[in-house]
């Protein structure tokens, strides 16, 4: 070696070079081995084009296989923005807007929608004329990236019928998307993993929402490896879309139609009547009807008025459509009054008071009650609905004629601290399902409210002027379904169901089963359900036994049958109904809910052999239960039992 060159310095350079190479090895180990899987995911995102194909949603049928929701195919113009060169973007937007008769901004908004996949076609316009598609194909050079596809579009053939139960679909929102993504690693109750993407149409209300995981199906996924120019490399893998499960409801479209028609008729009639308290016409802005099978909890009809046509909301809903449906001016058509509106049920609550009193006084059935025009409780005067009073009555007549005084007195008796701490009526009411949701498989259910001393004390804690103590007067009000008691029509129907079936509180439900029919008409629903599935939320389920003696229930059921005959409040409303063939027990209610006008309530239990039904009707600010709600209920019973109907006929204007 040359004596002028230092071996140490050569070694230093050698070491320096080797350490540079070692640095690279370390870096490669980190990139390729330690964080290789991340890079592999990124590489897949970069080079794999995934095109989703919307799955057809399952249909929705009523209990007899009548179609409530289905799909049709819509000829759609779609655009793959990755195929449009930047320089031609404005030109293509202009051309599309011209041919599709859209505003340029509308097309541009879809074009620039960052949430949609950039390399898959995005729908521009639904239901395009065939001639437009032919034009687009003939002038393909002016429309790079434009294709036409047939996509399934939701359709509700019965329009407004049962709209609150069926619900509607709409574009997935951020919250739903997040929920779906959070669950993307495990299967849901349908047994498969839900796949969601921005822009998906998903259930937004009713059955469409609650059972969306079942009904939505599984989108088809086509994956193609593409090169940097977007040209496919190799053979694509294809996973075809799977149609969603069909939902078979417990609803009976016939009963539902009768309920909705009668409800509308009742509302229309009420608006022609003058309220004696205010001197104005009744507002009758809204109402609800619920019909359930008391033995199973099957909801046969659930109507809320005003309603809406879910077809308005499919695809690109007209701007403001949703806002209009939630607007108080239009009486909030989206609001499902049958389950979401908790208001005082009035005298329809009296049968519950009667069962509670039965426990305290074993001789209740043989007692006689004075029914004077008014009594004084504390320093307040409580009046009967009948200005002249009703003489001396037994319990059954008190129910049939809805004597308020009897029940004021029973309420005061039950408010005695020496018996069940004076809370027995509340306990019984809660056992009948009041004050808590019925757990129906619909969203937005109100809990209602059963007031007691503790509740009143806490509720008015902010109030300076109101006396927070619980008085006999409060108990009297509760006994006639007034004051602070609040219940939904569905809660009342569920409670009446327990009276009808001998004391079991059945959980109401709208879904019969989910099945895979793959036909447009479910002809044999029973067969389909045998092979189908019933999720937990829809299974027939007893919520519990009501806190009532069977003898009391039997007595009260019979007493209630007096309502629709003889001197009963609804005798006029049921005049001509074949009561000799079909057993009907009912209770009317004219509920005060100041400052609003009185609401009209009627609940009925009907039996003809095994064919049983409970029907509850409620019309807001419509006056007497016997006049408006009772004929609505009658009309539903006529439909259910096939009794020839002559339409809606208002009952006598009786307030009880």
């Amino acid at each position: 070696m040359s004596p002028n060159i230092s071996a140490t310095r050569i070694a230093i350079i050698n070491l320096l070079i080797l350490s540079l190479l070692a640095t690279l090895v370390g870096r490669l180990w980190f990139l390729q081995v330690l964080s290789g899987s991340e890079a592999q995911k990124l590489a897949e995102r970069t080079s794999v084009r995934t095109v989703y194909e919307q799955a057809p949603r399952g249909f929705i049928f009523d209990r007899d296989g009548r179609t409530l929701a289905q799909n049709r195919t819509a000829l759609t113009v779609a655009l793959d923005v990755s195929q449009v060169p930047n320089s031609r973007k404005d030109e293509v937007i202009g051309n599309l807007a011209r041919v599709l008769s859209m505003k340029q901004d509308e097309v541009r908004n879809i074009f620039d929608d960052k949430r949609l996949a950039t390399n898959a076609p995005r729908p521009i316009a639904l239901d395009v004329d065939k001639n437009v598609v032919i034009y687009l194909e003939e002038h393909a050079d002016q429309f790079p990236g434009v294709t036409d596809v047939e996509i399934p579009v939701r359709e509700y053939p019965m329009h407004t019928l049962a709209s609150h139960v069926i619900g509607h679909i709409g574009e997935i929102d951020a919250e739903q998307l997040k929920k779906c993504e959070d669950a993307s690693n495990h299967a849901n109750e349908t047994g498969s993993v839900r796949i969601c993407r921005p822009g998906d149409l998903v259930g937004k209300l009713g059955v469409e929402k609650l059972y969306d995981d079942w009904i939505a199906g599984k989108p088809g996924i086509k994956q193609t490896v593409v090169n940097v120019n977007g040209d496919p490399v190799g053979t694509p893998t294809e996973d075809p879309p799977q149609r969603g499960w069909d939902a078979i409801l417990t609803l009976d479209a016939g009963v539902q139609t009768a309920a909705e028609t009668a409800l509308q008729d009742g509302i229309n009639f009420a608006r022609t009547q003058t309220d004696r308290d205010t001197g104005k016409k009744f507002n009758a802005p809204a109402g609800a009807v619920v019909a359930i099978d008391p033995t199973t909890g099957d909801i046969l009809a659930l109507a809320s008025n005003p309603n809406f046509d879910p077809n308005w909301l499919v695809g690109s809903a007209p701007p403001g459509a949703l806002a209009a449906l939630n607007s108080p001016k239009a009486n909030m058509p989206f609001f499902n009054r049958a389950i979401s509106e908790a208001v005082p049920p009035g005298s329809t609550f009296k049968p519950i008071t009667a069962t509670a009193s039965w426990d305290k006084d074993p001789n209740l059935a043989t007692r006689s009650f004075d029914c004077p025009p008014s009594i004084k409780i504390g320093d307040r005067v409580f009046k009967d609905w009948q200005p002249g009073g009703q003489g001396t009555l037994d319990l059954a007549t008190s129910l049939a004629q809805s004597c308020d005084i009897t029940f004021y007195n029973l309420g005061v008796e039950l408010n005695n601290k020496s018996y069940q701490s004076g809370e027995h009526l509340q306990q019984v009411a809660r056992s009948f399902g009041f004050g808590r949701p019925t757990d129906v498989d619909l969203l937005g259910e109100a809990a209602g409210q059963v007031p007691d001393a503790e509740w009143k004390w806490n509720h008015f804690s902010e109030s300076q002027t109101f006396d927070r103590r619980w008085f006999d007067g409060d108990a009297a009000n509760l006994a006639v379904g007034q004051g602070f008691l609040e219940a939904t029509p569905l809660q009342l129907a569920t409670a009446y169901g327990a009276i009808a079936n001998g004391g079991t509180l059945m959980r109401p439900h709208v879904l019969e089963c989910l099945a895979q029919l793959n036909v447009s008409q479910a002809t044999n629903v029973q067969q389909a359900c045998k092979n189908g599935r019933t999720p937990k939320t829809a299974r027939e389920k007893a919520l519990g036994r009501v806190n009532a003696q069977p003898a009391a229930l039997q007595y009260i059921l019979n007493a209630m049958s007096g309502t629709v005959r003889g001197s009963g409040t609804a005798a006029d409303a049921f005049a001509g109904f074949p009561l000799d063939q079909i057993f009907v027990a009912g209770k009317s209610g004219t509920a005060q809910n100041p400052p609003r006008q009185d609401s009209s309530w009627f609940g009925a239990i009907a039996k003809n052999g095994d064919k049983q039904i409970v029907v509850v009707a409620m019309v807001e600010e419509a006056g007497f239960g016997a006049q408006i709600a009772a004929p609505i209920v009658r009309r539903v019973l006529e439909q259910y039992y096939g009794v020839t109907s002559t339409g809606f006929h208002a009952g006598a204007a009786i307030k009880g």
Partner: protein, 391 residues
């Protein structure tokens, strides 16, 4: 001068003996390995994977690189036969010629690509003088320092700096920032080996770093270079331009994993190399093809082959019969190693992106010829360690 004289041995018998005994087959073998990996990488990054069977598939770039390889191999053999010590004499002439060529590039005679004026068109192929500037600077500095008898004072260090300056300036205004860095690196290592005082070296490094950083503050540095530097610091900020390169190259490297995606993308279609996602893949980012398709083990093999060549080269430097030989070998090895580090380093996100090719692997005639010439010189230095003094 006869052939025997020019080989630095006694004619005939001595020469045969030298080739059989002293030719470093290990370096030759490792070089061959690198060249094979390079050809595979160029082929896979340029071939169209849709094109029928591999035997029928063609790649124009691959074919050209084969031609360059024949040329480069010839240059290696010629360099081998040529006594390296003659370079000491010719260094000055080559140096002047290179400076002239580098400035010719900047005139309208030169041709440009991607914003840089780097090539001189010679009909069939383009010459990149900057590639030759690197070994020429090594030879020039080796020749200059060899005469200083193992001590470099301030005056000699400045002399070396002045020799480097014209080349560095010429490539800087092309602009070719990467090659400038290589030239400065060559200066640095040559001064270390040449015996420069450590204090002077330290001063020089500080001045150099401050100077390079200062350059970035002047309008002399092109906007794209500043952008690249920013992209290096924050790749996600600019995902479409410079940031794209960092993102894509790192993804492609990581995608290879331990074992790689398989050569010619036949095993796994999710392959950024096959999809042409990596820009400038056969040239600047050729390492991504190696890393993605041959995996960590492929990259490791490549780096081990480099290590063999470099360690053997440094041994040649240690064994050399004269200071010029030591200096030449050290300079060549350190320059090749630096290129390897910067090129792979930019691919894996360790250093900012510069247009420095990966020796033996990147597509490009100038780079391949010069790299092979370096191998020829290293072999020549080692082979002639016992040679007679030149007349």
């Amino acid at each position: 001068m006869s052939l025997g004289q020019s080989l630095g041995v006694r004619p005939q018998l001595r020469m045969r003996g030298m080739f059989t005994r002293e030719l470093d087959l290990v370096t030759l073998g490792a070089t061959a390995g690198l060249v094979v990996i390079g050809l595979l990488a160029i082929f896979t990054s340029t071939v169209d994977p849709e094109q029928g069977t591999l035997l029928k598939a063609t790649s124009a770039l691959f074919n050209r690189q084969l031609v360059f390889l024949v040329l480069a191999a010839a240059v290696l053999v010629i360099t081998l036969f040529f006594d390296y010590r003659h370079f000491k004499v010719y260094a000055t002439i080559m140096y002047i010629a290179t400076v002239v060529l580098l400035f010719v590039v900047l005139t309208p005679i030169g041709s440009s690509a991607q914003g840089s004026q780097r090539w001189i068109s010679l009909g069939v192929f383009k010459l990149q003088p900057a590639e030759f500037a690197k070994p020429v600077l090594v030879a020039m500095l080796a020749a200059y320092i060899a005469d200083k008898r193992g001590y470099l004072g301030m005056r000699e260090v400045i002399g070396c700096g002045l020799l480097t300056a014209p080349l560095a300036f010429a490539v800087f205004i092309q602009p070719d920032f990467g090659t400038m860095l290589v030239l400065l690196w060559i200066l640095l290592t040559m001064l270390i080996i040449g015996g420069a005082d450590w204090k002077i070296m330290a001063t020089l490094v500080v001045v150099g770093v401050v100077g390079v950083v200062g350059l970035f503050q002047t309008p002399l540095v092109h906007g794209y270079q500043q952008k690249r530097f920013e992209a290096f610091l924050q790749p996600s900020k600019d995902p479409f331009e410079e940031g794209y390169n960092y993102q894509t190259t790192r993804t492609a490297v990581g995608n290879g994993g331990l074992l790689g995606k398989g050569l010619f993308s036949r095993k796994d279609p999710v392959n950024l190399t096959a999809g042409d996602y990596v820009r400038n893949q056969p040239t600047d980012f050729v390492f991504t093809a190696v890393a993605e398709e041959m995996g960590f083990f492929g990259g490791l093999t490549l780096l081990i082959l480099y290590a063999i060549v470099f360690v053997r080269g440094m041994r040649a430097a240690a064994m050399a019969r004269d200071a010029f030989g030591s200096l030449l070998a050290t300079g060549l090895v350190s320059y090749l190693a630096f290129q390897v580090f910067v090129n792979i380093g930019m691919t894996v996100g360790l250093v900012p992106i510069t247009g420095i090719p990966l020796p033996f692997i990147s597509y490009g005639g100038s780079s391949l010829v010069v790299s092979m010439m370096c191998i020829g010189l290293l072999l020549s230095v080692r082979m002639r360690r016992f040679a007679r003094a030149l007349p």
